[in-house]
């Protein structure tokens, strides 16, 4: 697992460098239209979907709730003292992704004229079952797998196709998290040709 975590860390650093370079060179022009609409706040796009905003806002708020919970779960894992340094680095990286997802979702809800739900005061986690690093990884993998299913299940519901595209982009990220966690657990990282 140690060699694998080393590879993760290297891959993460390479990824970050490439990303910075890309953003500097392109000025983020390379981002998808949907992501631009989400992050930059394309008011015209948002305004064009007034009729369906209630439905989409509800779905986005539910997704935001799940992302916030994932952030809290990774925080729990990070503070558990059960993670080795390499695993901790990856966990913090994944948590960062979830924070980005949550920020984008919240911004989009507001752009659509919706109200961002308040986060719960506390989160319930099966802390009594988390006794070693493997337990934390299994727990995180189950959440990531669930997130993939949740986004997959939400995709057909979006009236705004651009939101569906953006949600699919997040789904891809969650699926990568799941695969990496499975690999770390010694499981087949990609167990099937389809996700459900």
């Amino acid at each position: 697992m140690t060699a694998l975590l080393k590879n993760w860390t290297q891959a993460k650093e390479t990824n970050l460098k490439a990303r910075r370079k890309f953003l500097i060179n392109s000025g983020a022009v390379g981002l998808s239209a949907a992501a631009v609409a989400l992050i930059g706040g394309n008011d015209a796009l948002a305004a064009s979907h007034k009729a369906s905003e209630n439905s989409d806002v509800t779905i986005l708020n539910t997704a935001l709730g799940a992302e916030r919970e994932a952030i809290a779960a990774y925080q729990l894992g990070a503070e558990s003292g059960l993670l080795s340094s390499g695993t901790l680095s990856v966990a913090v990286s994944f948590q960062g992704h979830h924070k980005e997802h949550a920020d984008v979702l919240a911004q989009t809800i507001e752009k659509l004229g919706g109200k961002v739900n308040e986060p719960p005061e506390t989160y319930n986690f099966p802390t009594s079952r988390l006794k070693r690093e493997r337990d934390v990884l299994e727990f995180a993998a189950s959440l990531e797998k669930g997130a993939v299913s949740a986004y997959l299940g939400a995709l057909p519901l979006f009236d705004n196709r651009d939101l569906a595209t953006a949600a699919a982009s997040i789904l891809g990220d969650e699926a990568m998290h799941w695969a990496v966690l499975r690999q770390a657990l010694g499981l087949n990282p990609v167990p099937s040709a389809f996700v459900s």
């Binding site: 439905s55 509800t58 997704a63 989160y123 319930n124 797998k145 949740a150 939400a154 519901l157």
Partner: protein, 182 residues
């Protein structure tokens, strides 16, 4: 009288059969007649035993098949429940409400969970039928529910998930004393 004069008794397990021959066959006298009767009785008995064994064998196989089907259905439901764990757990509220106590519960009634107005006012009581209908298309059954999930469109998969939820949500092992509380 009866079987003793015109046929023969045969037993197989808890069943006893009487093969009546006297009135159905040409009348024969003496040892030859009795011998023929006995041969015929044995023939019919062996055939009957085969039929009985066949029936009981089939019943036993069907019972095994039912058990096997139930087990397969449960395993499929358990697998499909993996889709739910992004938002749900059995014993505690998450993005979605907990599932312990779901069977027979009024929708929107778990304490401490912030339901959508739509779900609170739905009037649904969770049963196999209502859950099946909901999971087919949650937002069709309860427009504006916060459950942002398109539904389980595959009938057999949905049935398995419903069975699994109905069993596990009242399972003492799974839920312990959780059924009635938050």
């Amino acid at each position: 009288m009866g079987c003793f004069t015109t046929g023969a008794w045969f037993e197989s397990g808890t069943f006893r059969f009487c093969f009546i021959m006297g009135s159905n066959f040409p009348k024969m006298n003496g040892a030859r007649s009795k011998a023929r009767s006995l041969v015929f009785a044995l023939l019919v008995a062996s055939m009957s035993i085969a039929v009985v064994q066949s029936i009981f064998g089939a019943t036993s196989a069907a019972a095994k098949s039912d058990t096997s089907n139930d087990s397969e259905l449960f395993r499929l439901g358990e697998k499909l429940y993996g889709r739910c764990v992004a938002c749900h757990a059995f014993t505690y509220n998450r993005t979605g409400p907990k599932h312990c106590g779901l069977a027979g519960r009024s929708a929107g009634s778990v304490e401490g969970y912030r339901y959508s107005v739509a779900m609170r006012n739905s009037g649904i009581v969770w049963s196999k039928e209502s859950l099946d209908q909901f999971l087919l298309s949650p937002r069709k059954m309860v427009p504006n529910t916060s459950m942002g999930y398109a539904g389980v469109k595959n009938d057999s998969g949905r049935r398995a998930l419903v069975e699994y939820l109905m069993i596990e949500s009242i399972s003492a092992e799974r839920c312990g004393g959780e059924q009635d509380g938050p």
